[in-house]
């Protein structure tokens, strides 16, 4: 029975990967089309951008007068202000983008199916070794991406998210694959369910934030007049808007990561008799936490808003990926659950 479910799971994940590939191509085509369209729309975009920024400047001036007291940040961008002129200039949701999203949803349903089958096959949560963790975490990353669309239109991150998940799934299925084996006693704990799940979920949120920060960096280069021949950027939100969105996602991820850290300490106390022992994995969880704390501070520090803090968000996400891959595979420690 186990073997049947394991093969269902694998079939589902391979199908999901095939469809993610198609989705990735469609997202890329959409970006290419944005480049083509943006030359037509650039005039409209330019006016849109200026009007948005003047209203913001006005507010800033007023804020400076009345907020002498209190914290250094006052994020005064508004949700209702036009995102960027170009969005208005492209009334119909482009068909390639819609197609890409539809494909992503289908692939994701298969992907979740793969996760569920794996869990049923193993008769436990499907995130106890690196293969399963890759499978589940990428499902969560794409899940967060899809869910976030109800809050903000971040479809332009589609190629980043599907591309990232494809690479992760490719490595996971080819290099990390292990058969279903029972959990060793140290992993038999409710904390495996909670701690690892929240860690994966925050990875999903940080992934989106990192994507936004990357686009933000490109956008702010373009806005500062540096020659960046990526015309699709015209159709995307302005840099400070991207920064605000990245920040909002990051703080949510940060709260979850803080919880992960604390839950991990509670579990370590149960399993190993001490809540903190500077095990390599603990060290890296701490490093990542500190980087993101730095990011939040950077946003409140003069001279660090904008591109510098965006770099911190990207470094933070890179540290997460490093923590999962290199640290798990090559560093020695108690968290030897890779099963490889």
């Amino acid at each position: 029975m186990t073997e049947t479910f394991v093969s269902f799971s694998l079939i589902a994940v391979y199908s999901a990967m095939a469809i993610y590939t198609l989705a990735f191509v469609m997202f890329a085509v959409d970006v290419a089309r944005r480049s083509a369209e943006s030359s037509d729309a650039s005039a409209a975009a330019a006016t849109g951008l200026t009007s948005a920024s003047t209203s913001r400047v006005g507010v800033m001036a007023a804020a400076a007068g009345s907020s002498a007291v209190g914290t250094a940040t006052s994020t005064l961008t508004s949700d209702n202000a036009p995102r960027s002129g170009a969005e208005a200039a492209r009334p119909a949701s482009p068909k390639y983008l819609r197609l890409a999203m539809a494909l992503t949803v289908i692939a994701w349903v298969l992907h979740v199916g793969a996760v569920v089958f794996r869990g049923v096959a193993a008769n436990r949560v499907p995130w106890a070794n690196m293969f399963e963790f890759t499978l589940t975490a990428t499902a969560l990353i794409v899940g967060v991406f899809l869910l976030v669309q109800f809050w903000q239109d971040l479809r332009f991150l589609g190629s980043f998210i599907t591309g990232f998940s494809l690479i992760a799934l490719g490595v996971g299925t080819s290099s990390f694959y292990v058969d279903v084996v029972p959990l060793p006693p140290a992993l038999q704990s409710a904390w495996l369910v909670i701690h690892v799940f929240v860690a994966s979920l925050s990875t999903g949120v940080f992934a989106l934030a990192a994507g936004l920060s990357i686009v933000q960096l490109m956008q702010s280069r373009r806005e500062s007049g540096k020659a960046l021949k990526l015309r699709f950027l015209d159709t995307l939100p302005a840099a400070d808007r991207l920064e605000t969105l990245a920040y909002r996602l990051t703080v949510v991820g940060f709260v979850m990561w803080t919880f992960t850290l604390i839950a991990g300490a509670v579990w370590a106390e149960r399993a190993w008799g001490r809540y903190w022992g500077w095990d390599t994995k603990e060290v890296w969880t701490f490093i990542i936490w500190t980087i993101y704390a730095g990011y939040i501070h950077a946003r409140a520090t003069r001279g660090w808003r904008g591109s510098r803090s965006a770099w911190l968000a990207i470094v933070g996400f890179a540290a997460i990926v490093f923590n999962f891959t290199i640290v798990n595979l090559f560093f020695k420690g108690l968290h030897a659950y890779s099963g490889l």
Partner: protein
């Protein structure tokens, strides 16, 4: 919390000592320094993850010294093997926390003042602010402002009237949360640093059927905290009644993998009746303020050694160190007294024995299905009398001569439970009486645990409050023109990230004007 920008660099007055002190303090408690120290801390934590640490991997440190003596000397100098207690790492986090305290104290005072202060005067030009919107009503300005004030209060704003306008502020909890968060970080550090010092950890190997009492003398190894006193050892004894492992038997990818360990114990607090309890991985046993963890297990064969006259001179279990996942283990038995010569025995235990084609033995399953114990016997000087501590799990054969084994005339001794074999040279005999299990227990007393958890919860609570409670000001101003129509202006200002500000103003304006029209109509 930026330090004020230093005044023009030219013509700066000379700073005295106090001036310098103040200057450094201001630099240290500036946001820029906090950020720098935070990032520095992240970078400083990296080396400790690359190099084995004395605290978590002492054997790794020894091996590193053996393999790379030159690099190790350099790393030793920079205290990299003890990164997290090193001078430089400590300096970074201590500076960070001093900076933090220097930040939090003035902000707390500031916040108390803000809590008592009146919301600020209504700005002259509301139209420049966020979410500016207007409504008109037939009601007069005073009624409109009064209604707005009441509505604002019901939404938990603090309000203040300024002429025909009301100024309101809410979300002080945001700053409270921020202060709680940062203070709780200090709390965590203090609890770890101070509370941890009063605790201890001890390790003890216990064989089935044996007991140990919680006293210094009975531990195999013991690490007291800085402020440890003997009184921290609670008076209890723990007897290991049985150890029950469960191994996977059906999944062919994982035959023999451990899936459960249970240590059944009897505990006795001094002056109380004995109680049965169990210890499992992930389920420590808690005795008063002390926790007992099940960390390792293995086999402890009981050997009975008799001299040439059949007198029993040795009969006790020896814990063997497992070297593979099927619990193939090495055993070291040292018999210093009772025989004509000191005897050392080096044993290999195979719980489920199988022979390779080369004749070498291996264990193929961790449970005791077909156990074999092989013994190589040495005689000579065990080196126990020279006063140096020796490792109980290693046999130093420098001044020993093998009398049974691969390099001597007599063959290696092979025993299964109940077997008895003669020792060479007419020294006597050795019998494998039984093979009970042992567990290694970690006993921890850590008074910091409770406080650290409490502060950790405060960290999360403060964080969530400070990141997600919107702090905003709202103003409502009314003016009536000659025709008797009152125009009401609404606007707001966010303090910190506030995604829903505009929506909140619009919603408020709608609700307020609706209430007004209801009142006018009736």
């Amino acid at each position: 919390m930026d330090a004020p920008v230093p005044q023009s660099k030219i013509q700066q007055p000379r700073l005295g000592f106090v001036g310098y002190a103040r200057f450094f303090w201001r630099q240290l408690t500036s946001m820029r320094t906090a950020l720098f120290l935070l990032l520095l801390l992240a970078v400083a934590a990296i080396p400790g993850s690359l190099v084995p640490q004395v605290s978590s991997d002492p054997n790794g440190v020894v091996a590193y010294h053996r393999n790379y003596p030159d690099t190790a000397a350099v790393l030793d100098f920079f205290q990299v093997f003890t990164t997290y207690t090193s001078v430089w790492f400590s300096a970074i986090y201590l500076l960070l926390f001093i900076s933090l305290i220097g930040c939090v104290l003035p902000r707390t005072k500031h916040h108390f003042d803000a809590l008592r202060a009146r919301p600020p005067k209504t700005p002259a030009r509301l139209s420049r602010l966020e979410g500016f919107t207007t409504r008109t009503t037939e009601a007069d300005a005073a009624t409109a402002v009064d209604g707005a004030r009441r509505l604002l209060r019901s939404q938990r704003y603090r309000t203040e009237l300024y002429g025909d306008s009301v100024s309101a502020e809410r979300g002080y909890l945001r700053e409270t949360g921020n202060l709680v968060f940062h203070s709780a970080l200090v709390g965590v550090l203090l609890a770890v640093g101070l509370g941890g010092g009063f605790g201890y950890t001890g390790q003890r190997v216990v064989v089935e059927g044996y007991a140990f009492s919680n006293s210094l003398a009975s531990y195999d190894s013991f690490n007291p905290g800085r402020f440890f006193a003997d009184t921290a050892l609670e008076p209890f004894t723990i007897a290991l009644d049985s150890f029950v492992p469960v191994y996977e038997q059906s999944n062919k990818d994982a035959i023999g993998q451990a899936i459960d360990y249970t240590a059944n114990v009897t505990t006795t607090m001094r002056g109380e009746a004995s109680q049965s309890a169990r210890v499992k991985v992930n389920e420590p046993l808690s005795l008063g303020g002390t926790n007992v963890y099940l960390l390792g297990n293995g086999y402890a064969p009981v050997l009975t050694v008799r001299d040439a006259d059949e007198a029993v001179i040795w009969s006790q279990p020896t814990a063997c160190l497992p070297f593979d996942s099927n619990l193939g283990s090495t055993c070291v038995i040292k018999i210093p007294d009772g025989l004509e010569q000191q005897i050392g025995m080096l044993g290999f235990l195979y719980p489920t024995t199988n022979a390779l084609s080369t004749g070498a033995l291996v264990s193929v399953y961790p449970d005791l299905i077909a156990p074999t114990l092989t013994l190589e016997v040495y005689e000579g000087d065990l080196g126990l009398d020279n006063g140096q501590g020796t490792n109980a799990y290693a046999l130093n054969t420098d001044s020993l001569e093998q009398i049974a084994g691969r390099t001597s005339e007599a063959d290696t001794i092979r025993l299964t439970p109940g077997d008895r074999a003669e020792l060479p040279n007419g020294l006597g005999s050795v019998e494998l009486a039984s093979i009970p299990r042992f567990v290694s227990l970690d006993v921890h007393h850590d008074p910091s645990q409770g406080p650290v958890l409490l502060f950790a919860i405060l960290v999360i609570a403060g964080l969530v409050t400070s990141l997600f409670v919107p702090r905003r000001r709202m103003w409502v101003a009314a003016s009536t023109d000659k025709t008797g129509t009152t125009t009401i202006e609404y606007a707001a200002l966010a303090r910190g990230d506030d995604p829903n500000l505009e929506a909140a103003v619009a919603e408020f304006a709608d609700k307020h004007s609706q209430q007004l029209s209801v009142r006018v109509d009736s």
